[in-house]
Amino acid sequence: MGILLATSFVLSLLCFYGLWFMHKTLTKQKKLMEVKNDFFENTAHELKRPVAQLHLALEALSKPTAKENSSVSERYMTISKEATKDMSEKISMIMALSMAEEGIFKLNYSKFNLLEEVKKLKVQFSTIAEKEVNITIESKDIDYNIMADKDHLRQCIANLLDNAIKYSGDSVKIFIKIEKINDSLRLTVKDNGIGIETDKINKLFEKYTRLNSEQNSTAGFGIGLSYVKTVIEKHYGKIEVKSVTGIGSEFSLNIPV
């Protein structure tokens, strides 16, 4: 009788444990699904921006009246090209994230001068319409050559510059510094933007989340920064961020040479 009772008790415990474990697993899966759906929603949203621009620009260019104003038509053409490039970059980032998730993300290493790439990006980002953008690069007499994936690294720095401009006021001041620290190059991008709240900094690089999800989309953070983190970590590097709300943010990439 005693043995029967003990056996029943043990079996009941096992059942309860099983139910608890199932509940925990299902809850975790449900949360993951919600977070992933959030990511897909954000991804679609980020791609819809350039698609919307392209759609309207091409529609306007196809009208007979488009020829009447050549400066406006030229601007529409520029917008179309930029939108296509934007879409292409975003799709590349999404694919990189997906491949990293699958464990098949590979870097194409080549030797290049990091300072030269940053200077090219400075020219590209200094001419943003509607905002006054001032980018300063601090350079010292060091070896800026690095062995890395040039395209992905370039995209990472472009993402940081893009965010710095997006989340700053009408007068944007960006300070870029590259320094040699042991066997790494440390690239810092500092801005005078709106900053990031301390409790959100930890979530900044989470793959499937975005800041201010209840308030607004804060378009770009969901994919851009998680892509930067993925690429830098693939290079066995590190990304750090410091930020003060109302003052600005500072992102640092440490990349082994």
């Binding site: 929603e41 819809k48 698609v51 930029e82 989309s217």
Partner: protein, 233 residues
Amino acid sequence: MKKILLIEDDINLAFILTEELKVEGFEILHLTKGENALLVIDDFKPNIILLDVNLQSNINGFEIAKKIRLSNNLPIIFTTSRTLSEDLVIGFSIGNVDYLKKPFGMRELTLRIQELLSRNYMRDNQIKQYDIGEYTFIPSEKLLLIHGKKISLQKNECKVLTLLCKSNEHVVPKDELLMNVWNDIDLKQKEASLYNIISSLRNKLSIDTMIVIEAFPKIGWKLTKFTTDSKLV
């Protein structure tokens, strides 16, 4: 010339919209942020607002719309690339709004602008009261008044009776009634509901025997023997 206040932080999109809406004959004022919208509305006096839901600022398009709604009832068209149904609930709860999902074409945008402007014009110029024989019909209150007695009308009864009154003793086609009440003309199952509405209205209007809702088979209905006296309440 109708004026549009465009609140959109995508500079490229805003440029295209501004140029193309100018071609359509609108005057446009573009803001990249919504924080100054209220001040601008007082100065610019737009007829309609085009508002991006996903503004990259500390407050989103819905918050800005709610602030605007506190001081006026300007029609607002939300533009968004989001698909969440919760957004629709929030947006439409603000009232006098419409939604446009990105990407959209100019034709769709201008049609929605015109429709919303037209709807607002009709509302602002609506006749407030009809005299139907010995009845007084107040559409805004969904009420029929006769000899001191109040008769309540259902929402759809009110819509049908308003159309019949506006037609001024002309036949109102069945399709027009279906479109007005259910926003569709291809609803066979709704026809039965429409017949019920007509029957209910006849019942409610039966105190004054001079009032008749005449049926014209396969065409529609006509409200006869009433005097229209348009006046503000």
